[in-house]
Structures are given as structure tokens and as C-alpha cells.
């Protein structure tokens, strides 16, 4: 143990640092959302606002996905299943009970979590490969069920969700949903930040870095992964619910779509799954690119090739995302942090004078830990 005189100033400095950095993500979220909120006022036409809704929808979806993928490193290609369940659940509730759309969205979210529970239990019992297979299977089987179960879901003919604001004109409708999605994005990002700073987040990151070690240290990895999976599914379902209400027309092929699920993974990876803003950044870049492709090459399969190529490039050359790349670049350009080896003999002697001999050993340990 370091002596009291040695630790307190350091602790105090850390506490000070923590108190400023605690609010930093909140401030960053507020600034980012404020900038995004300007979009409807500067967009040249209603189409651009609706494109903004699509991009925000991707951003919520990718951030929600990142609650699972980013913290645990488990890559789910099947989150489109929860997206579709949210959309269909909300639509069915609104039609059959005529309840308020937000209440319907929340109830659909609960239902999605209930469905996700056994799936998570099955998928997370095994590591890696089987998890991915189960998430893919979930999307495929739900697509099959929703297509076959025509009496309830409308099957391939589609399914019309009543608009929550029937007397609004189309541009106003886009604008309203733009702000609804913005609010949902704020909540999702806040939840991500909360988890990031909680014990749960630390434990989940333990799973990501070395699951075996985490488990041998007594961390209930299975339960932790399941919690992250369910929270992630819940917010994905909300994104789907809002999308269904906004778009108004659902088709199993497009709601339960592996390509959609993997596009979202691509977004999170491109930005960087370790960062709060990674999925948002990825959604802005890829969402905008996809809208462009659909607009210009809508009737060809070019968007598939573009998505595929981009995914391959990101996995091969940028597996940790743009933000990690930027951070590494910045670290290289900045003056190097002093390592233990660069401490001069004078420094060491001065330190020895200040501390008692017992503290010396542990102090050196602490320094080793801090050095990069």
C-alpha cells in the first residue's frame, strides 16, 4: 500500500478529473444532437428531411446494436429481428386496440424482450460462431413466420400501420418524426453512456477482452451478456416501432432482413464499436451513402455490391473503426507520454526522498500500470 501522504493528492487529482469528465459525454451528446436538430431547417426539400429520418433511424439502430456488440464483442447479424418485431408489434397494437402510439411502442418493446430472452439464452450458451448462427437463424425464421402467417401480418401483401398524426401534411410528418427519432437517439446514447460508466459496463468489457479470465474471476458472464442482449434488443425494437409508424407500410422481406442487420453492424464497425459516437458516425456516412445509391441506382443490385465491398474493406483494414484510427493518429502526433524507462535517476532519487521505503515498491507498480 502506498502511504497516505502519497495517495491522497493523486486521488484528489483523479476525483477532480473524473468530475469534469463525467459530464463530458453528456455535453458531447447535447452538442451533437443540437447540430443534427438543425437539419430540418436547412434541408432544401422534404425529401432531404425524410432521408434525415432514415439516417437517424440507422443511428438509433446502430447505437442500440452497439450496447451488445460494442461492450461484449459479440457480433449479432440478427438485430433486424428485433427491429421487425418492434415495427409489427406496434402496428398490430395500434390497429387492434387503437391505443396511443407511444404506449404501443413500449408494449411492443416489452414483447420483443420477452421473445429475445429464450433466444439470448440459447445463443449465449455457446461462444462466437453459434451465437452468430442463431442470430441469423432468428431473422430467417421470423421472416418465414411473418410471411406465412398472413391472417395476422398480411403476409407478403404488406401491412399498413395507421399514421399517428393523421391530419399532418407529409413534410410536417417527416419533421415530427425527425425530432422523435432525435429524442430516441438521445435516450439510447444516454443509456449507452450510463452502461459504459457502470459496473455492468466494466464487467461486459471484461467479457469482450477475455471471457475466460472474466469467468474465472467469478464474473457471471452469461447473465451479463444476456442483460446487454436484452437492453440492446429493447432499443432496437423501439427504433423499429418508430420506423413502422413513420413509414407506415411493412413487408416481412424488408423488416426481417439480414442485409439490414449487417448494414447496421457495418455502421457501428466503421465508426468504432468502442465509442459512443462510433455508430452515429457510421450511420451518418453509410446511411447517407445508401440513400444516394437507392436514389441513383435503385433498380440495380449495385447497393449490395457497394455494401459488400465496404464491409470487406472495413473488416480487413479498419476493424477497430475510424475513431480508433483517429485516436491512434493523434497519440502518434502528440508528444509521447513518459514511460517508466524514461524516468531519470534524479527523478527516482527525489521520489525516494519523498516517500518511505515501504511505499517505494508499490509506487513503482502503480507507475508501470499507468504507462502506456
Amino acid at each position: 500500500m502506498p502511504s497516505v501522504s502519497e495517495t491522497t493528492p493523486r486521488l484528489r487529482a483523479r476525483a477532480l478529473q473524473a468530475s469534469t469528465s463525467r459530464w463530458r459525454p453528456v455535453i458531447a451528446i447535447v452538442i451533437a444532437l443540437a447540430v443534427l436538430a438543425l437539419w430540418p431547417t436547412i434541408a432544401p426539400n422534404p425529401y432531404m428531411v425524410s432521408a434525415g429520418v432514415v439516417v437517424l433511424n440507422y443511428a438509433v439502430f446502430a447505437t442500440a446494436w452497439n450496447i451488445m456488440g460494442g461492450f461484449t464483442g459479440y457480433i449479432s447479424l440478427g438485430h433486424a429481428a428485433f427491429f421487425g418485431l418492434g415495427a409489427y408489434g406496434t402496428g398490430l397494437l395500434v390497429i387492434h386496440t387503437e391505443m396511443y402510439f407511444l404506449l404501443a411502442a413500449v408494449l411492443a418493446m416489452v414483447a420483443t424482450v420477452i421473445i429475445a430472452l429464450p433466444v439470448g439464452l440459447a445463443a449465449l450458451r455457446v461462444r462466437g460462431a453459434s451465437f452468430v448462427i442463431v442470430t441469423i437463424a432468428l431473422v430467417l425464421v421470423l421472416q418465414l413466420v411473418f410471411q406465412s402467417w398472413g391472417a395476422v401480418t398480411g403476409g407478403s401483401d404488406g401491412f399498413v400501420v395507421p399514421r399517428p398524426f393523421p391530419d399532418m401534411l407529409r413534410p410536417e410528418h417527416h419533421e415530427t418524426f425527425f425530432y422523435l427519432f432525435l429524442g430516441l437517439l438521445a435516450v439510447t446514447m444516454a443509456v449507452w453512456t450510463l452502461i459504459d460508466r457502470s459496473r455492468l459496463g466494466a464487467a461486459l468489457k471484461g467479457v469482450r477482452e477475455d471471457e475466460d479470465k472474466a469467468e474465472s474471476l467469478g464474473s457471471p458472464t452469461m447473465r451479463l451478456k444476456l442483460v446487454a442482449f436484452l437492453i440492446s434488443a429493447a432499443f432496437t425494437s423501439l427504433a423499429g416501432a418508430f420506423y413502422g409508424l413513420w413509414f407506415g407500410d411493412l413487408d416481412p422481406i424488408f423488416q426481417f432482413d439480414i442485409v439490414l442487420g449487417s448494414t447496421v453492424v457495418l455502421m457501428a464497425l466503421l465508426g468504432g464499436i468502442r465509442y459512443l459516437f462510433g455508430p452515429l458516425l457510421g450511420a451518418l456516412v453509410i446511411g447517407a451513402a445508401l440513400e444516394y445509391f437507392v436514389l441513383n441506382y435503385g433498380d440495380t443490385q449495385f447497393h449490395l455490391i457497394a455494401t459488400g465491398l465496404l464491409l470487406a474493406l472495413v473488416v480487413l483494414f479498419l476493424p477497430d473503426g475510424v475513431l480508433t484510427g483517429v485516436a491512434q493518429l493523434r497519440a502518434r502526433l502528440q508528444p509521447q507520454a513518459a514511460s517508466i524507462r524514461e524516468v531519470s535517476a534524479e527523478d527516482l532519487r527525489a521520489e525516494q526522498d519523498r516517500s518511505d521505503p515501504g511505499a517505494q515498491e508499490s509506487d513503482r507498480d502503480a507507475r508501470t500500470e499507468e504507462s502506456p
Partner: protein, 295 residues
């Protein structure tokens, strides 16, 4: 009315379909055994092989099975290239997850290219023996199904002999069982892994051609194959070739039998039911042995 003949015919058809499934799942277990890779592009290569067979038939007028002369070596080379240039570049720590994404990317690119070149139109090969049936104890079995089953059976047999009897097969099995030990014995495991991948993809060439004989093909068809094939390898125990074969035959028969009461779409869900049940009850798979007992 469900008659005995209908049941018998379904059983035979199920076994024939299961044979094809077994061949295709064998490729998937090879990849998983060698590199711990879940190869999502396998099904899209199947469709690609189907397109090669169709195009070959249109251009030359010969039987589509002759297209195997082109597609098998081509696919072998592509598989080798994928392993050496893409998969082996990934970081070992995130290998499983990242390989899923990269093979998924390949699947998307193949689907997109097929869609761009040949459009989404459904294609079917015109065969002289397409409509003929073979009477087998009262059950009418389409000849194309028998042909594709024979094709699958021959290649599975060849694969088995290759793995069991040849030097390469021994090296490949050694690489799968214990990579480092195989290296110590002087096996060039990188090369062997590349060849193993090529071998896996070559099975997709045969399977795709067999499929094109009996079914209509279109670029997005591979989505219908990914799920069942993945389910088969999980039920069979990831990485076990005999396990995959047994699971394939079993699920193939079950699927065709369930079509009688449920219809084709709902019958398809049997694969997913089996997948979830397996993970709940026996996550290591039902038929796969322990690591040392593979093949």
C-alpha cells in the same frame, strides 16, 4: 388423405434432398474445422455454381453436369485464395466474428453481381430428362432428384476417401485436430488450410450444379439455404463431417415429411426448431464427437 405410398415417397424424396444437404454442409464443417470460420458465402457460391451450370447449358447445349469441369477447379482456386488472402489476415482474437462479416461481404458481392449481370429473373435449365419419373416400389421419384443425389453421393464418397486415405487428407485432419502439433510434424498447415478451404468450396460447385438440375435459381436464393445449412452444422456438432451428414439426412427427411401436413413454408421452420432445441439441450451438437474424434 395420407397414404402409405405418399409417406414412402416423401421418405425417399427426403433422403435424396438430405444427400444434397449433407454434401453442402460437409463444406461448411470443413471451413469451421480448419479455421473456426462460419462461412456465410457458401450458399451464395452454391447459387453461383448453379448459374455457371445454367449458362454453360445455354451456351454449349451440353448437359449442365459437364460445367463441373470448369466450376470445380475454379471454386477450388477461389477457396484457396479466400483462405490465404482474406481469412488468414484477420487477427486471431476476433477471427470467428470478423470472418463471419467478411464471408458475409463476399455473399453480398456475389448476389449483387449475379443480380446485375443476369437480373433477378428466375432461371431454369431445360433438361431432356426433366419431366421423367422413376418408379420405385410404387413411389414416383423424379429422375433429376436421383441424378443430383448420385452426384452428391459420389462427391461425398470422394471427399471421404480423400480425407481418410490420402496423405493430404491425413495432413488436413491433423491440422484440424491440433494445428501446432501438425506444424511440429512438418506439415505446412497454412497451405493445407488453403487446400482445405478450396476443397470445401469445390463441394459448393458440385452442390450448386446438382441444385440447378432440379430447382429454379435466382440471385437471392442463397438466403433460403444459409439457414438450413447453418442449422445442420450446429445440430451435427460444429466441425464434424459425419455429424453433419447424419443431421442433414434426418432434417431432410423430416422437412419433406412435414410438408404433407404443414405445407412447404412451415415445414422449413423445422431447421430452426432443431437449431434452437440443440443449443438448449446439447450445445455441442447431437452427433459430433469430441474434438479428437472428428471425421
Amino acid at each position: 388423405m395420407v397414404t402409405g405410398t405418399l409417406l414412402f415417397q416423401s421418405l425417399i424424396l427426403g433422403l435424396l434432398l438430405g444427400g444434397l444437404y449433407a454434401l453442402l454442409a460437409a463444406g461448411l464443417t470443413l471451413y469451421f474445422g480448419i479455421m473456426r470460420v462460419v462461412m456465410l458465402a457458401h450458399a451464395s457460391f452454391i447459387i453461383l455454381a448453379g448459374y455457371i451450370a445454367w449458362r454453360f447449358n445455354v451456351v454449349t447445349g451440353l448437359d449442365p453436369m459437364f460445367s463441373l469441369i470448369i466450376s470445380v477447379p475454379l471454386f477450388f482456386l477461389i477457396g484457396f485464395a479466400i483462405q490465404r488472402w482474406l481469412i488468414s489476415r484477420l487477427k486471431p482474437a476476433t477471427m470467428t466474428m470478423m470472418s463471419v462479416l467478411i464471408t458475409f461481404a463476399i455473399a453480398l458481392i456475389i448476389e449483387g453481381l449475379l443480380g446485375m449481370v443476369y437480373t433477378g429473373t428466375q432461371r431454369r435449365i431445360n433438361l431432356p430428362y426433366a419431366a421423367s419419373n422413376f418408379n420405385f416400389f410404387g413411389a414416383a421419384i423424379p429422375v433429376v432428384q436421383i441424378v443430383s443425389f448420385v452426384l452428391a453421393g459420389l462427391s461425398l464418397g470422394a471427399l471421404y476417401l480423400l480425407l481418410k486415405k490420402s496423405r493430404f487428407g491425413r495432413a488436413l485432419r491433423a491440422t484440424i485436430q491440433h494445428r501446432e502439433a501438425a506444424q511440429l510434424l512438418g506439415i505446412d498447415t497454412d497451405k493445407v488450410a488453403g487446400f482445405g478451404f478450396g476443397l470445401g468450396l469445390a463441394t459448393a460447385a458440385v452442390g450448386g450444379t446438382a441444385l440447378a438440375l432440379q430447382a429454379t435459381i435466382y440471385p437471392s436464393l442463397h438466403w433460403h439455404w444459409i439457414g438450413p445449412l447453418m442449422a445442420i452444422i450446429v445440430v451435427g456438432g460444429l466441425g464434424s463431417v459425419p455429424g453433419a451428414a447424419i443431421a442433414a439426412l434426418l432434417l431432410g427427411v423430416l422437412r419433406i415429411m412435414l410438408e404433407i401436413p404443414l405445407g412447404p413454408t412451415w415445414a422449413q421452420t423445422i431447421f430452426y426448431v432443431a437449431l434452437f432445441a440443440t443449443l438448449m439441450v446439447r450445445p455441442q451438437g447431437f452427433f459430433g464427437g469430441r474434438l479428437a474424434q472428428r471425421f
